[in-house]
Subunit: 140 residues, 6 copies
């Protein structure tokens, strides 16, 4: 990728933020759950239960969801599980060990998703620092 570029690169367009992702996700989930299809409601229910603490901890289950999402190459699912893993206290070293397993199992075709995953992880860490500096008035 060397010879082709002579012009000045402009700034890359910004992706949606995690907040925008969450907003869209919640708005559309509400519409899906209000569609009247009872089966789909039950599926969504199973989906959210799957990651609850059982014999395996919530942290391990979120890591399982993250690596599954990485090898299946779904950016939105990766974003969701990164946010949840951060909630569960996964460290950066642990994240990269999990990313490495996804990369080895799924191959270089996962690399564009890995790039966006690392971007999301940084966004989460930034939000976290920001929130700690400005204490919230109400529990969320």
């Amino acid at each position: 990728m060397k010879k082709l570029f002579c012009e000045r690169p402009s700034l890359a367009k910004e992706r949606n933020s995690i907040a925008e992702f969450r907003q869209y996700r919640e708005r559309m989930n509400r519409k899906i759950l209000n569609s009247g299809n009872l089966q789909i409601q039950r599926f969504f229910n199973l989906d959210s239960h799957a990651y609850r603490q059982g014999s395996l901890s919530g942290k391990v289950k979120e890591l399982l969801g993250l690596v599954a999402s990485l090898v299946l190459r779904c950016d939105d699912c990766i974003t969701y599980h990164i946010v949840r893993c951060v909630d569960e206290g996964v460290t950066d070293t642990e994240f990269f060990e999990a990313f490495n397993i996804g990369l080895v199992v799924g191959g270089s075709i996962t690399i564009p998703h890995l790039r966006r995953a690392v971007d999301r992880l940084e966004e989460c860490r930034r939000l976290d620092r920001h929130c700690k500096r400005r204490p919230q008035s109400s529990a969320d």
Copy 2:
């Protein structure tokens, strides 16, 4: 996904509209068909023939295309078949029964695509109501 967010979410960036999708699709299809590769022309021909009424109706065939696109997780293909299913008179209840089959077969990894599919379906219904209020001068 609870603890992380303290800031106000801004509005999500708009996706391309169906009209923009169609425009891009037609412009690039023309280029592909004009590339001089006869085999690719024939493939495109087979593709458009596959959904024509035969022993199975056009409606059933478009539903088959829709569910195949959902489990293979291709947003553009989903958009295309939703528009075509709307043309064929598929009702919302029928759409959600088809979505449910795609969801059960393909798993939660299809959910982000399902969200965008429901968004597209709403866009189609809005366009439809809009067109009915303002009768077109010419059949398209």
Copy 3:
């Protein structure tokens, strides 16, 4: 594939019959449902409900399951839905129109599965003719 073969080909090893497939499927399903994991039980329940008659007929839903299984390239799922489609009265012409959609959407990588699908379909038709000649004493 012309130059390589000089020896006489021997007869190909037989695949498991549909009856053997069904036997293994039922035995393992029982073990999974008896594992004590309530979530998995509920998933299996959702799976079997997804194909029940609703606004879309059982026949259309089985065809949706068949084409989804073909593009995702799962032989066991294809076998299951072929048997169910035969139960629902799908004709050979309808089968091949559905196969064609799966082939066009999923590409030549589906062809080995298509070969085995056609093999299974023939096995179903043979069983059907055989059963009609020898009326069963008890409903199954």
Copy 4:
């Protein structure tokens, strides 16, 4: 799947045992590593390192490999990681919680693989009981 079967089902053909799987795996791995392609040797090296204890335990890493293999639907990879998880002391309850995540993420298309996974797990437990009754003369 009710109406079609009138004949007596015969016994299903046996799959290869874990021992046979392991034998074939090791024989072919040797050939691949002796092919003289240094890059492939390095990939195999990375693959075996990915599951070694780090910040995440070996047990968690094997579970990550197992769920990744389940959603990508590779029977041999599932077999390999089940054997490794058994070595790491994963309990049946933990296995089924991990299976449930794979099932929800990957959908019903993973069920045939889940059936074979549960079969393999039982085979491992049988071998384990058998080995405990007959103590080995040498460490393996």
Copy 5:
């Protein structure tokens, strides 16, 4: 995979030979082409034309088919393109360079298919040596 095995491994069951694969493939292709579905006939036609010499040589095209089949993890397609690549004079070193690209792009999930690919390649080389020692009476 160390602790589990105390019993003597038995010999692995033989896979179908290339000759058996070819026989089944040709028999089922005939049935598919005789089904009366004109679209599927045309698809099969496009499939066989895609690998004919054009601006890219037949050899390069078969290698493209081989790597595509490896990353999509279809054993039958891999077998077919290995046989064709051998016909086109691909050397072992070239095969392993192509395998390496498939392995890096597609990840460790392709390794079981790589093992069977190397097995098939050896079978082709054996058949080739065998045929050279016993000249054929008729061109095939």
Copy 6:
């Protein structure tokens, strides 16, 4: 897709340019390589080595990477290999022969990616003409 549209289509939103793609790719790759995970560094190393000239030429290897990326449907990987293929002197006719193999193997589900691939190819050709008119002061 005929009946639905009565309003004037607006202009489609622009995608990121190749320069923007490259910029983001390099920035995130740096972060990944600086994460301290040695295994991931080694994987990236294997990835870049896989396409170097060996028994197969760099051009053939880039074509293998391109078709693998097309059938696995990864836009960023397709963009990367198109740029590299242009560097290696692949002609438009050769590109479309490779695209055709990807299309036949991977099916119509690859068509949206093919459209974006052709768009990227045109962008490369435009950049190339532009650079030739304005000679660069330094070799890159």
